[in-house]
């Protein structure tokens, strides 16, 4: 099959490649570029394990073609850590608050949470729950994920995180 030439920026680095027009973005990332952080959980846009950040939006990489990302600016979990290699605040708070177990949804979940906090700097619990509704987790029951995102928001807003009373 004839291949298309694509150029994009991924995690701050320029990427150029030839891809089949039918290649899904998730397969391009995982198999051609070796970025195996985003995962495949359903291939039908439901689970969000493949979530990446493309041009300022959360995108499920199993449901767009790599050629559709041509010219785009992308962030995957591999690009989340700070330039000095230290963990991003969301990566820290997910660990701190036990917001993950098997780790399979985690890259998509953190990438989504990162965009959510750009869209809404100080979301309520309900806004967080709705904001991550496109990302499924089978292990945690979400409660600690929500807590981790609240804690990250607090930290980013220079506030001390206080757990809500039951």
């Amino acid at each position: 099959m004839a291949k298309s030439h694509v150029k994009m920026t991924i995690n701050g680095k320029p990427v150029e490649a030839l891809v089949e027009p039918r290649t899904l973005l998730i397969h391009f990332l995982r198999e051609q570029l070796g970025l195996t952080g985003p995962h495949i959980g359903c291939e039908t846009t439901h689970c969000g394990a493949c979530t990446v950040d493309l041009d300022g939006k959360s995108v499920k990489a199993c449901t767009i073609f790599a050629v559709q990302a041509d010219g785009g600016e992308m962030l995957t979990i591999e690009g989340m850590a700070n330039p000095d290699g230290s963990l991003h605040v969301l990566q820290e708070t997910f660990r701190e608050h036990h917001g993950l177990q098997c780790g399979y949804c985690t890259p998509g979940m953190i990438t989504r949470a990162h965009r959510l906090l750009q869209e809404n700097k100080d979301p309520s619990e309900s806004e967080i729950r709705h904001g991550i509704a496109g990302n499924l987790c089978r292990c945690t029951g979400y409660q600690n994920i929500v807590k981790a995102i609240q804690a990250a928001a607090a930290k980013l807003n220079g506030r001390e995180f206080k757990e809500a009373a039951e």
Partner: protein, 806 residues
């Protein structure tokens, strides 16, 4: 712990041992996307396998033509039963003593059954080639309803075993019958029922569901033809068992098979068994001499690899008028699908369903289970549950409410009245288990107090009156569930899989500088083993958890173990690691005595080393002892500090808990809101409270999914209609309730550290609790039992049946 000096406490804290909320070591890689899952693996020359699957639930295969697929550039091979038959691999043995078709030979028996395996250079070409395989079918009548499977004129499903009159567990009664399993005293039970003051009877169905971990099943097989060695990476909850089965099936010597389970993206029972994809990947790699990857997609996962439950339980209780239970009688119709691939210890065709007398002192009981074939996917896995324990828990906890309703008694009061009393432990149940320990009354009272149970019932009463007056269209339901689990399979006296006793194992090596590597026979799928096993070792050996590495999942390096499922890691492998650590500590004591020039009997253990009794300054830390073990061991003592333990537990463990749920139901829309959910768990000694809480949250969320919406449903022609995440309910963060957790601690008397396991308790207790809440909402209107799942439509239908819609 409480009488520690400040110095001792400081040293103990540094260890991050048992009881502390240690942050998980796994997370460092997971939060950076550096986990290593099967589909992340990329080997030179690796090709991809994918299945041609049956569109029909029951059909004869007239012809398979693979020529067009083989002609497609990039296609390497197409396997069918014809290729596997000469190798005797077209069928594989199941854990339940049946056989399962790897690739269908003459017939297909369920929709999406594996018919051919296409191998191609990439997954896209494989998908193209699947479309080019031409299969001619002749449709046959299907059997979907388990209640019709044993009708005299029901279609014969399993032609391959039609002449078999004896199944793995006794006589077969019908051509679609698999086994009958009976436990308990039938005549004594019948006698109690004949003269009982009060009896209740209900057909309680636990619908077919699927564990649906976020990562589907996958494998990469790589055959090195020169060395004659097979390496198999896969999503295996039990890698050693896979190696043994692989060796027995393929004839490759077991030492030449290397099974590796890397990080696993959730298992929940889905990844215990062996699936056709594993076998086909292995065969294809042997044929091609190239690594072959197989990864199922979500639809294949939901429709072909495993299912859980599908138990239809006719349940009866006998009692006195004042609410003392005198007997229990249960008959189960168990729908096993097309092949009996249940993942149970071999002697237990219905798992540990005979825990069905629950937490109650029921003097006499009888249970019979009939397993049957239908045109549905095989499986019967323990979805976050220890071998049919969640079915049993649902059965007893639902019928308890039905009895309470009939007696006009409060469900909590009925439970308190019938609980096994603390002084009765160890308690011998009527259906054959010895409960190791428990304090049910304390747990229940604590739960009732925590939620303000009496006020809730008062509020409910007022709401019901308001409903009757037409002032509200909302009903309030209070669900009470008290479960006793049976986990930690198990003692070799009653538990084996394919003849291998269900022990588990640990191997510990202390390095000269005092750091540790420990290898385990289990395999984490998200439970956090790398964190918690290290905590057990830290406390047992006085080495900081941060200096301990836990390794699992590589059969070349790990000692043989039966894997992780049925909440068995802590009860079994947790015992193994503690016992192995104690062997090391005994040797360390000899070395310390030598270094301190005293008798080892003059020494006492003190947090992180040995001290001479009465001489507080004379102390050797474990780090010092480790160094000495390699450099100056006492004369005659073997150098080094290593130990292996294979732990065969003396009994199962019996975690328990009290759960209470408050739900509000809108009778006009059928929608429900979980207002409150309180879960008290007693899992014995608590290794890491943070991880326990996380396990409880996750298990409750899965229970919520099952009770409120999950179902693998088939239409009358055998089409599976819930095979994608569009149709199969997985709760999102929006629907998922907030969880309140609590605990009591009743250590297991026989376990080395007193721990009982917790991962599955919330599912076992959660499902009946939700269901009881929904049922409780309608009970005052005369409804005794509404079948799960309690989605809006079914709940609306329940209201409709009760005439609530005018």
């Amino acid at each position: 712990m409480n009488d520690m000096t400040p110095n001792q406490k400081e040293r103990a804290d540094k260890l991050e041992g048992m009881g502390c909320k240690r942050k998980r070591v796994e997370d460092v890689r997971f939060v950076q996307g550096k986990g290593n899952y099967v589909d992340d693996l990329k080997l030179p020359g690796m090709v991809f396998g994918d299945f041609v699957r049956s569109p029909y639930a029951h059909a004869r295969i007239k012809k398979i033509d693979v020529s067009k697929a083989l002609a497609l550039p990039g296609v390497k091979a197409v396997l069918t039963a014809a290729e596997l038959k000469p190798l005797k691999l077209h069928y594989m043995p199941t854990l339940a003593g049946d056989v399962q078709a790897v690739l269908a030979e003459e017939k297909v028996l369920f929709q999406n059954q594996e018919v051919a395996f296409v191998v191609a250079e990439d997954r896209y070409i494989a998908a193209d080639a699947i479309e080019l395989v031409e299969v001619e079918y002749e449709e046959l009548p299907v059997v979907i309803d388990p209640f019709k499977a044993m009708a005299p004129d029901a279609p014969l499903l399993r032609e391959d075993i039609k002449d078999k009159t004896d199944g793995a567990h006794g006589k077969r009664k019908h051509h679609n019958h698999i086994f009958t399993w009976e436990v308990g005293d039938k005549s004594a039970t019948d006698a109690v029922f004949a003269k009982a003051e009060v009896t209740v009877k209900e057909m309680i169905s636990y619908q077919r569901v699927h564990p649906c971990p976020l990562e589907t099943c996958a494998a990469v097989a790589s055959m090195d033809k020169i060395k004659g060695e097979l390496t198999l990476w896969g999503t295996f909850q039990a890698p050693h068992v896979i190696r043994t089965v692989g060796s027995l099936l393929s004839g490759i010597p077991e030492h030449k098979i290397h099974v590796i389970a890397p990080d696993i993206g959730g298992g929940f029972g889905n990844k215990v068994g062996a699936y056709p994809g594993y076998i086909c990947a292995i065969v294809a790699s042997i044929v091609l001499g190239q690594p072959v990857k197989w990864v199922e997609d979500r639809i294949e996962n939901l429709s072909a690899t495993a299912f859980a439950r599908d138990y239809h339980m006719t349940t009866e209780l006998a009692a006195t008028k004042d609410g003392r239970i005198t007997g229990m009688r249960v008959h189960v119709l168990a729908d096993h699908g097309a092949f009996d691939a249940c993942a149970d210890p071999s002697k237990y065709p219905a798992g540990f369903f005979n825990i069905v007398t629950g937490s109650y002192d029921i003097p006499v009981a009888h249970l019979s289970v009939d397993g049957i074939y239908t045109n549905k996917a095989p499986g019967g896995v323990a979805y976050r549950c220890s071998f049919r324990v969640t079915e049993a828990s649902y059965c007893i906890e639902r019928i308890m409410d039905v009895l309470a309703q009939k007696l006009g008694m409060d469900p909590a009061e009925l439970r308190l009245k019938n609980f096994v009393r603390p002084e009765q432990f160890p308690y011998q149940s009527a259906l054959g288990w010895e409960y190791d320990s428990g304090d049910y009354h304390t747990a229940m009272q604590k739960a009732l107090k925590a939620v303000g149970y009496d006020q809730l019932r008062a509020e409910q009463k007022a709401k019901r009156e308001a409903f009757k007056r037409g002032e509200t269209r909302e009903l309030m339901g209070i669900g009470v569930a008290f479960f006793t689990e049976i986990v930690g399979a198990g003692p070799s006296k009653n538990c084996d899989i394919l003849g291998i006793a269900m022990f588990d194992s640990a191997e510990i090596r202390i390095h000269p500088t005092g750091s540790i590597i420990a290898r385990m026979g289990t395999k984490s799928q998200g439970q956090g083993h790398e964190t918690t096993y290290a905590q057990i070792l830290a406390t047992e050996l006085g080495i900081p958890a941060a200096d301990i590495m836990i390794e699992e999942g590589n059969t070349d390096t790990a000692p043989y173990g039966l894997g992780t499922y049925g909440s068995r890691s802590t009860p079994v492998a947790g015992g193994a690691i503690a016992m192995a650590a104690r062997k090391i500590r005994a040797k360390a004591q000899m070395i310390a005595a030598h270094l301190l020039e005293v008798s080892e009997y003059d020494l006492e253990w003190d947090i992180d080393g040995f001290r001479v009794k009465g001489a507080p300054d004379k102390f050797k830390s474990m780090k010092e002892i480790a160094w000495a073990s390699y450099n100056s061991p006492p004369a005659g003592l073997e150098p080094g500090l290593e130990a292996v333990n294979y732990y065969d537990p003396p009994n199962m463990t019996y975690p328990f808990g009290a759960y209470i749920c408050v739900a509000d139901v809108d009778v006009d829309t059928g929608s429900t809101k979980i207002r409150r959910f309180y879960a008290l768990d007693d899992c014995g000694t608590r290794i890491n409270p943070m991880i326990i809480e996380g396990q409880v949250h996750g298990g409750l969320t899965e229970a919520f999914g099952i009770a409120m919406g999950q179902e693998i449903r088939y239409d009358e022609t055998g089409n599976v209609v819930t095979a994608s995440l569009m149709d199969y309910f997985l709760p999102t963060a929006v629907e998922t309730p907030k969880w309140e957790t609590d605990f009591t601690v009743t250590p297991s008397p026989h376990h080395p550290i007193g721990a009982k396991g917790v991962g599955e308790s919330p599912n076992v207790g959660g499902v009946p609790c939700f269901s009881n809440a929904i049922n409780d909402a309608f009970s005052f209107l005369g409804s005794t039992h509404i079948q799960m799942p309690h989605d809006n439509w079914r709940t609306w239908m329940a209201a409709e049946k009760l005439g609530l819609h005018g």
